[in-house]
Symmetry: C2
Subunit: 223 residues, 2 copies
């Protein structure tokens, strides 16, 4: 599958590496693709990443990544996502699936960060509204990057993965991808407004991270 | 133990019944204790409740319940909690433990309700600020009443219970109470500001309820 990653920090690099391992055709989009040596948040440089994936993927502009992918992934910081998707020309790529993995975390007032998802709006809804051509599926935002691509590394994989979005076909495609990553308990919470719940959960997640002193955690929905 | 319940709907009645079963001395406080026949939200009337507990507990005013308990429980609707605690004279009862089990859910715009906890405030913090004499411990707000008092009824009890609050001694007392209810994985998330996480989680919980078509659900923190 052709996959275009919008973003170049830890989440993009981790997802990208896993997707390359699974044989997908990946383009990682970054603001300045000529600057391969800058160290990225929670990850190394893109030059190191290209070496890690044995140059089986490309680093390009946001726009080239968005044009390349049949499935796109928003792996930017939530507060930059709309601007990055505009730079990517996401309004001009047609009816593509966009996996929104981002969270809006405001670190400006110190730790723990404020989670900006609210009772009447969230990032995934804002993206769906700004880019009605895209089929937005919220996914991946509830776990740290190493857990996203290796659920079995935590509790033997016995925990849950929540998704939502307006398009059933898009959610089916994302579900297939998740299964190929090793996820089994994938729960579809409905339309994109359910992303308010997925994003609001971060307010609990950051406290759990603080308490457990590791982001290697997730929830199992017991029912 | 002497326990004063502030509130008379499903959560108060369910917790009260369990506490009576465990031998505690319970007073359930309600706005109008003479009106025993009104059907309460998610529960029967207080006359039925008194019969169910074989009259081993009392129904009284908010104020009498607050004066009675060594431990108090806020089991009101979140949007009425501050007013109820004022009516209860909670500012005049000294340094008592208050378990805050409430959530601020706004049903005025239809279903699902809006969760009013935000990145910069939540109910438990408002209560702690308004009643600095109380030792507020957030607990019980993340599960439906039947799960609160019978964790083993769900997934064999293999799920988690989160608490927070500023006073270590108060949290130890609440933890003992929780263990007597059958809870084992009790996680203390820190000071009362962590209640923003416990309350924000409701935005996810209400979506899970909608999806699973039952409130008999909880999360296990897998780490």
């Amino acid at each position: 599958m052709k996959i275009g990653l919008i973003g170049s920090a830890g989440v993009a690099q981790t997802l990208g590496r896993k997707l390359v391992e699974l044989g997908h055709d990946v383009v990682l989009g970054t603001r300045d693709p000529k600057n391969l040596d800058e160290k990225k948040t929670m990850a190394g440089s893109l030059r190191e990443w290209l070496e890690a994936v044995q140059h089986k993927a490309k680093v390009a502009t946001f726009q080239a990544a968005a044009a390349h992918g049949d499935i796109l992934v928003n792996a930017t910081h939530g507060q930059s996502s709309l601007a990055a998707l505009e730079l990517a020309g996401a309004d001009k790529v047609g009816a593509k699936v966009l996996i929104d993995a981002a969270n809006e975390l405001d670190f400006s007032q110190g730790m723990p960060p404020a989670v900006l998802a609210a009772h009447d709006r969230c990032l995934a809804e804002d993206i769906q509204r700004a880019f009605p051509n895209l089929k937005v599926v919220k996914a991946f935002n509830m776990v740290a990057a190493p857990v996203m691509v290796d659920p079995k590394s935590l509790g033997g994989g016995d925990h849950s993965f929540l998704i939502c979005g307006n398009d059933a076909g898009a959610k089916a495609q994302v579900t297939d991808l998740l299964k190929s990553f090793g996820w089994s308990d994938i729960i579809d919470l409905g339309d994109i407004s359910a992303a308010r719940g997925l994003e609001a959960y971060l307010a609990l997640w950051i406290r759990l991270w603080g308490k457990l002193q590791t982001p290697m955690l997730n929830i199992k929905i017991v029912r």
